[in-house]
């Protein structure tokens, strides 16, 4: 009996080990971790998903690699860790300013120009994390305070400083990450602008625009590239003290992946400098407001701009 028991257990262990081993290989039809597949990490934001889909389509069209998207990751930290642990080969979008603070743990040096900051982040990533920061896609995403057009007119608000006299009675919606952020978070904001808001409502970033347009909030902190600024006809207030640095958006790839997939570099460069702030707003708008999937919007954009013409 004892002998048999041992036999059963060894069978169970062998079977489990077999499954673990199998799961390391590719599953037909799933494009997973098998070699020859480029894994793109994407956050849950619309912008990130659109860019991830574009990269995937480009890689599959231009090279003979396959591509798969590891989607819905919570933040830039999660995509960074996915790259570091080699769960992903590249991140579809990374923002220099965000990485400077939340990944590298440095404070923003406001005496530096944007180009200097970008170069510093790029070098730091290369040296410490062995990741290549590509040149920007051509747009920068940044936090921006916004109010409804009516509110702006009624209270004569054009810049962030204009909010000062109303701030103590205002209800504002913010990104929960921003409240406790170092460098450009709420504490630093209060110090720079010299006022604080009456009530702070942290909420998912996608909800702030609707909350503002429905009048539940007096002002919100949103993303400057969001398409809903246009669709809800919101007014973006001028950041007159240059508090929020523009976060240039780029694709970032692991150096090891660029080595493993030599054709990748050329493909990833194709979108550099090609997507302006206006274009990104428009693409975001199509997804957020027009019931279209990031995959659909990305394909259409690439088609319209002739990325699919010509062979490999």
């Amino acid at each position: 009996m004892r002998h048999l028991q041992r036999k059963v257990w060894s069978l169970v262990i062998v079977a489990l080990a077999g499954v673990m081993l199998l799961s390391g290989c590719g599953f037909p039809g799933l494009n997973n971790s098998s070699t020859g597949t480029v894994r793109i990490a994407s956050m849950s934001t619309t912008e990130s998903q659109i860019m991830a889909e574009m990269l995937k389509d480009l890689i599959e069209h231009d090279t003979n690699y396959k591509a798969t998207i590891v989607s819905n990751l919570g933040s830039g930290n999660v995509t960074f860790n996915a790259q570091k642990r080699n769960d992903a080969d590249l991140s579809a979008v990374r923002y220099t300013g965000t990485d400077l603070e939340s990944i590298m743990g440095k404070k923003i040096d406001r005496s530096r120009t944007q180009a200097q900051t970008d170069a510093y982040v790029h070098q730091y990533f290369k040296k410490h994390y062995h990741m290549t920061y590509f040149p920007s896609y051509g747009f920068a995403d940044t936090y921006a305070w916004m109010v409804t057009k009516d509110y702006a007119k009624k209270n004569h608000v054009n810049t962030v400083s204009d909010l000062k006299s109303h701030a103590s009675q205002m209800k504002v919606g913010i990104d929960p990450i921003w409240e406790n952020r170092h460098g450009d978070g709420y504490a630093d904001f209060k110090r720079t602008y010299g006022f604080s808001f009456g009530d702070l409502y942290p909420m998912q970033i996608g909800l702030v625009y609707e909350a503002l347009s429905q009048g539940r909030m007096d002002a919100v902190l949103g993303y400057s590239t969001d398409g809903r600024i246009k669709s809800y006809n919101l007014k973006v207030l001028k950041d007159n003290k240059n508090f929020f640095p523009p976060y240039n958006c780029s694709v970032v790839a692991n150096d090891a992946a660029l080595k493993q997939y030599p054709q990748l570099k050329k493909t990833l460069r194709k979108l550099n400098g090609k997507i302006s702030l206006n274009t990104m707003q428009k693409l975001n708008y199509e997804v957020d407001n027009n019931l279209e999937e990031p995959a659909t919007v990305a394909k259409r954009y690439l088609h319209q701009h002739n990325y699919f013409e010509g062979g490999r």
Binding site: V8, S23, L30, T46, S71, N289
Partner: protein, 226 residues
């Protein structure tokens, strides 16, 4: 967009993103199937073994039961620590959850084979393997099938949660719906195909289960003779 009601929005969504939904549907289905397939490869032999050595059954089914009580999100997160992000983690999770129904049903199916029939087989000089091949398996196949059917429906639900570790599938569409403004139609566009997949696979496997049911087969044969 807001002037359309939710069903018109849903229709519009399918018109514009049909291919995408189809590819995610396909992916979702494959993830579930792979997990259940591995569970069947591992679970059926285990079920047969514990039916032969009944003193082990308490242990094995106990372990499978404990696995079942772990919340699926927790299981995904724990496995993610070892296996990383992506589709493999979800397949292994599905595998672990599919084990219990398959082992339990195989075990029950084997136990319920009539002892007289087994005796008759032995009396005819069948080896143990032949008894298994010609008597036990055919007679318990429909019960095993019922286990696989349970496992697959469970798997489809778990795969939807797998989107949180970046595996893709219809869960992606549901999550996007929760992030979008007025995403009600998008949530439905993800949820309805998921439900449809579960219902259809349940029906198909139910039909197979009936086909393998030995009592039904006998009736059918008798009907043919008459």
């Amino acid at each position: 967009m807001s002037q359309l009601n939710i069903w018109q929005q849903l229709l519009y969504y399918f018109e514009h993103n049909g291919l995408y939904v189809l590819s995610q549907f396909n992916r979702h289905f494959l993830i579930s199937i792979y997990g259940v397939l591995f569970a069947a490869i591992v679970g059926i032999p285990i079920g047969i073994l514990i039916a032969r050595n009944r003193h082990l059954s308490g242990w094995v089914i106990g372990i499978a039961n404990v696995i079942q009580t772990i919340p699926s999100l927790a299981m995904l997160s724990v496995l993610m620590l070892g296996l990383g992000l992506g589709v493999n983690t979800v397949i292994v999770t599905v595998f672990l959850y599919a084990l219990l129904p398959i082992i339990k049903n195989t075990y029950t199916g084997m136990l319920n084979v009539n002892a007289d029939v087994l005796d008759a087989g032995k009396g005819m000089g069948m080896t143990r393997l032949e008894v298994l091949r010609y008597i036990e398996l055919p007679l318990s196949l429909s019960v095993i099938m019922a286990g696989i059917r349970n496992a697959l429906v469970l798997a489809i639900g778990i795969t939807a949660i797998g989107s949180f570790v970046g595996a893709g599938g219809l869960g992606d569409i549901i999550i996007r719906g929760t992030n979008a403004t007025n995403g009600g139609a998008i949530i439905l566009a993800g949820a309805l195909p998921t439900a449809l997949m579960a219902i259809v696979s349940d029906a198909v496997l139910g039909w197979l289960q009936k086909l393998f049911d030995p009592s039904a087969r006998r009736n059918h044969a008798q009907g043919a003779e008459e």
